[in-house]
């Protein structure tokens, strides 16, 4: 079968859901819930956010009626795919009394056949980042051998997902995927990639469909789709170019890891600390943040003890608690830790940027702190290099 893109009428989305259901896929996709677009299990096209767009600004998210029939005419959803892979709470194992001994049992990690429908370039990149964290992909390009610490809890959720991506057509004012090299085009990073065309014209509303894997091609083959015309391809190119042109923000990533390393004592950290609530919303909204707290939850009555992993944030005081106290006591130290990890030390740790440019941390910061603006300010200021011997933690007594 040729790899020429195909074209699917918008009203055939239902048939796509049918094929996925026949193959036993649980479909997760965008849907409107509580005044926002979130990611939930859906079973039919009517559950998609048809006709809805979004207006995202620092500290503000609003749904906006588009006035057309677009199914995917919005930017990064308020909800993340992260919660369906790296779950907010997971039981790692249980122990229970059994006579005089103790029995250990693994937590339940249900494996389901799942399709992620309508995922964008930024979020595909975010999953690739978390794969490096949890699945033991090579930490750095060229290092070869996978790490042996693959996480079975994440792995059970991650395994076998069918990705049906959407080339983003409507970036928000908070988006900067072009700067981070993660979008808007998803290229060959999904099994099937769709581009929504002419949503304002009911009789021409259609999707360009590009199947790039065997699984994607097999699904497309069962849809009896027509081969795309040159006009379809030109329309898709126009959608991509339009998205690039309307990208709301940008970040200069040139030499950024080193630049931030040198800026550990920049006065801008004090400035942002005066605005930051230390609430942790940025870390929770971020599709790559992976920090968790592991604790034992005893149930004296049942004689059972659960070891539980729950989402945690580097903005919590107890997150950096070592013997004797927390390492990062000030808001300044915590914000600096988060941002420099995301944009600088993530490279050292995982060989990629921890930021994919989705803009969620900007939108979902209650006070609208803008990571692109903070980078710009630090680049503009005369930086004070970190003193010798303190680089290990980026921490200094007086700044705690």
């Amino acid at each position: 079968m040729s790899n020429r893109p195909l074209v699917m009428a918008a009203h055939d989305l239902g048939a796509l859901f049918g094929v996925l259901a026949d193959d036993g896929y649980e479909v997760l996709g965008p849907t409107v819930h509580d005044g926002a677009i979130v990611i939930e299990a859906i079973t039919q096209p009517s559950q998609l956010p048809r006709g809805w767009g979004d207006a995202q600004e620092p500290g503000s998210y609003r749904l906006v009626e588009r006035g057309d029939g677009a199914y995917f005419g919005f930017a990064a959803p308020a909800g993340t795919w992260k919660r369906h892979l790296f779950e907010p709470r997971a039981v790692l194992w249980r122990s229970r009394r059994d006579g005089d001994g103790v029995v250990f049992e693994p937590g339940e990690h249900v494996r389901r056949r799942r399709a992620f429908l309508g995922i964008r370039g930024c979020d595909l990149a975010a999953i690739a980042v978390q794969d490096r964290v949890f699945c033991g992909s090579p930490a750095k390009s060229g290092s070869g051998s996978p790490r042996r610490s693959a996480d079975p809890v994440y792995g059970a959720k991650r395994e076998g997902i069918l990705f049906i991506g959407i080339n983003c057509s409507d970036p928000a004012s908070t988006c900067f995927c072009t700067s981070m090299g993660t979008g808007p085009a998803i290229g060959e990073r999904a099994d099937l990639s769709l581009t929504e065309l002419d949503p304002a014209l009911p009789d021409q509303h259609r999707f360009l469909v590009h199947a790039t894997t065997d699984r994607g091609r097999a699904i497309a083959a069962r849809m009896n789709l027509a081969v795309a015309t040159d006009r379809d391809l030109a329309s898709a190119t126009a959608v991509r170019d339009g998205a690039i042109a309307s990208m709301g923000r940008s970040m200069d990533t040139e030499d950024l890891p080193a630049r931030l390393r040198e800026a550990a004592e920049d006065p801008r950290w004090d400035d942002v600390a005066r605005r930051c609530l230390s609430c942790g919303n940025c870390t929770m909204a971020c599709p790559t943040c992976f920090c968790a707290d592991v604790s034992d939850q005893p149930d004296v009555a049942a004689g059972v003890d659960e070891r539980v992993r729950e989402w945690a944030s580097c903005f919590q005081l107890d997150h950096s608690y070592l013997h004797g106290g927390s390492v990062r006591v000030s808001t300044k130290a915590r914000y600096r830790q988060w941002m420099t990890h995301k944009l600088s030390t993530w490279w050292d740790q995982f060989g990629v940027s921890g930021c994919v440019g989705c803009g969620r941390c900007i939108t979902f910061c209650p006070v609208g702190i803008d990571i692109t603006e903070e980078v710009r300010a630090i680049r503009a200021s005369k930086s004070v290099p970190l003193e010798e011997g303190t680089a290990e933690t980026g921490e200094k007594g007086h700044s705690r």
């Binding site: 509580d34 308020a78 919303n281 149930d299 919590q316 006070v367």
Partner: protein, 267 residues
């Protein structure tokens, strides 16, 4: 624990009894806990009491009278482990509104015979008066957290409960931010986790029942509320509830009524 079957006591100070009620609300789990311990003193459950010493004392309510001060000192002496539960015991409760006013004036207005009333001018947390081994937040406390704390101490462990903001629980729950997406004023960013972010899940802003988060940044948060906009008078009122006297909430920037007479003694 000193005994084979730990002796547990539940004590009440100035409070509404709601936190003790949370313990009774545990029902099936309470029966299991009751089977593992000797409930030596729990007047809300039984008028039969056993004298101390106690392995674990659970204290509800704030210190608001001179006799409270003597009583909590005695309970501390009689207790191996002492945990305080609820906003009254950990922050002074709603009755700590007196800390921002003239208690003599209140008494003269409220009571027919003010001379019958013997009270301190302040309502203060248990930890202002005696050493407390663990403080469990909330108005009322979350019953599963209460069971976690009791179970942990019975097993000789430190409880492990999150000290993050409510926002972390909200995002974990999958609730869309009511402040960012709806413009609803919400105390979540400055409030201690523990309730499971109930109010935002029902499209309401957080009321701050669990008191200030450990990282509270009130100045920046007050600026945010003003920008919504929320009036300064309303801002003062949202902080002046069950945890009004808690550090972080009691000194609201721009407030005309600062707390008085509320030393936070570390004993």
């Amino acid at each position: 624990m000193t005994a084979a079957v730990p002796k547990v006591a539940v004590w009440k100070f100035a409070s509404c009894d709601g936190c003790q009620l949370s313990l009774l609300d545990c029902e099936d789990e309470l029966l299991a806990v009751a089977g593992a311990v000797e409930l030596a003193h729990f007047l809300e459950a039984s008028s039969a009491t056993v004298a101390g010493p106690y392995d674990l004392s659970i204290v509800e309510g704030s210190v608001s009278t001179a006799s409270d001060i003597e009583r909590i000192a005695h309970i501390r002496e009689e207790s191996n482990v002492l945990i305080s539960i609820g906003a009254c015991a950990t922050a002074g409760g709603i009755q700590a509104l007196r800390n921002f006013a003239d208690v003599g004036e209140y008494v003269s207005v409220v009571y027919a015979r003010p001379d019958y009333i013997e009270t301190l001018s302040t309502s203060t947390p248990i930890s202002d008066h005696v050493a407390v081994d663990y403080e469990l937040r909330g108005c009322p406390v979350n019953k599963s957290q209460l069971l976690h704390v009791i179970s942990s101490f019975l097993l000789g462990r430190r409880p492990r409960l999150p000290s993050s903001s409510v926002c972390v629980e909200c995002k974990a729950r999958g609730t869309t931010c009511v402040m960012v997406a709806h413009g609803t004023a919400c105390l979540g960013p400055v409030t201690h986790a523990g309730c499971g972010a109930i109010c935002p899940a029902f499209d309401r802003g957080c009321y701050g029942c669990y008191g200030p988060a450990d990282t509270v940044s009130t100045t920046a948060f007050v600026q945010l509320l003003r920008s919504l906009p929320v009036s300064d008078r309303a801002i003062e009122r949202v902080f002046r509830t069950f945890n009004a006297n808690a550090p972080g909430f009691r000194d609201i920037p721009g407030s005309e009524h600062a707390a008085v007479g509320s030393p936070r003694a570390t004993s």
